[in-house]
């Protein structure tokens, strides 16, 4: 695991973080629940909590979908390529490329050809990764970690690996209810392209 230069993190006085969605995106509750699940994965292993708020301006974390140039100097590039980016604490900006084909319900379909095409992206996988950046984690070379930079077309990776947990706990400490990687806190299913379940951390 790794951190941003200078190891920025949310101040110790701020463990209850709020997040809000760009009103102009008019996201449905179903889409918002994907982000809620993604936040839960990080709050399960740290003392941090994440609560949605309606006020985009005052929220600690601001989530928005944008297409192309969106005035932060890092324009998006259309389908595939860069999927999203997030700023280190305490900026809290979380931007996703609005031109991706975002799949909301990551449960694989029966025939196992989940993501059988190359241009569908699992929203929860990207959300869990970017929240890692929002908390202060950089990229990791550990291939099954959430903070590994690429998300192969056809994969869904939502469960924190040891590498991710050690990194975020080095910044914030642990959640008193977290009793180690074997704890199954948020059910999910991981599959790669041909639907073979991946037995990651659970």
């Amino acid at each position: 695991y790794s951190f941003f230069p200078g190891r920025p993190r949310w101040p110790a006085s701020k463990t209850d973080l709020t997040y809000a969605f760009l009103p102009a995106n008019s996201l449905t509750d179903t889409i918002k629940s994907v982000f809620s699940r993604a936040f839960d994965r990080w709050s399960e292993v740290t003392p941090l909590t994440f609560t949605e708020t309606a006020s985009f301006q005052s929220a600690d974390i601001k989530v928005g979908f944008f297409a192309g140039d969106h005035n932060d100097g890092e324009p998006f590039d259309g389908p595939m390529g860069t999927l999203a980016h997030a700023f280190s604490p305490p900026a809290g900006h979380f931007h996703l490329d609005g031109e991706e084909n975002w799949v909301i319900d990551g449960v694989p379909i029966d025939d196992g050809n989940f993501f059988s095409t190359l241009s569908a992206v699992d929203l929860e996988s990207v959300a869990v990764h970017e929240i890692g950046h929002l908390l202060g984690l950089g990229h990791s070379s550990v291939e099954d970690s959430i903070m590994y930079p690429t998300l192969g077309a056809g994969t869904r990776r939502v469960e924190l690996a040891n590498d991710d947990i050690q990194g975020v706990q080095e910044l914030y400490g642990s959640n008193p209810n977290f009793t180690g990687p074997s704890t199954t806190l948020t059910p999910s299913q991981e599959n790669d392209t041909n639907g073979t379940p991946k037995f990651g951390l659970s």
């Binding site: 595939m80 241009s119 950046h133 950089g138 930079p149 690429t150």
Partner: protein
């Protein structure tokens, strides 16, 4: 572009080769000393993710800067550090990814920023 599942995505939107980096596949096998149309674009890719510092006008020459960037990228992604745009490296480069840089302010946050495995860590004994 939100879909409950993959079968609800209209085929017209599923254009596998419309990805931003598909063009890099024609650079397969390029190595140091060559001049190939398109190398300037992949230098821009490496600059975007922090592997190349200078943001000047990139040329199509496969120069030392590009070779070093490729070796660092290969190290970060556990690929053989050949310094060549070989198959595994190209296949990895075109994968969709997070837009955050791998190398920030010149310091890598992945493998290449760590001491090689097995490097004896400094031991000091307090007297």
């Amino acid at each position: 572009h939100f879909f409950p599942n993959i079968s609800s995505i209209p085929p017209s939107l599923l254009k596998p080769n419309a990805t931003a980096w598909a063009a890099f596949q024609k650079l397969l096998g390029c190595h140091s000393g060559q001049k190939v149309d398109g190398l300037a674009k992949i230098k821009k890719y490496f600059h975007y993710f922090g592997y190349v510092n200078s943001s000047g006008n990139f040329t199509d020459d496969f120069d030392d800067i590009l070779e070093y960037a490729i070796k660092t990228y290969q190290q970060n992604f556990n690929l053989n550090t050949t310094g060549v745009l070989d198959g595994p490296t190209i296949q990895h480069i075109i994968k969709p990814r997070c837009g955050n840089a791998d190398i920030v302010n010149g310091t890598s946050t992945m493998n290449s920023g760590k001491p090689p495995a097995g490097t004896p860590t400094m031991h000091t004994v307090a007297h």
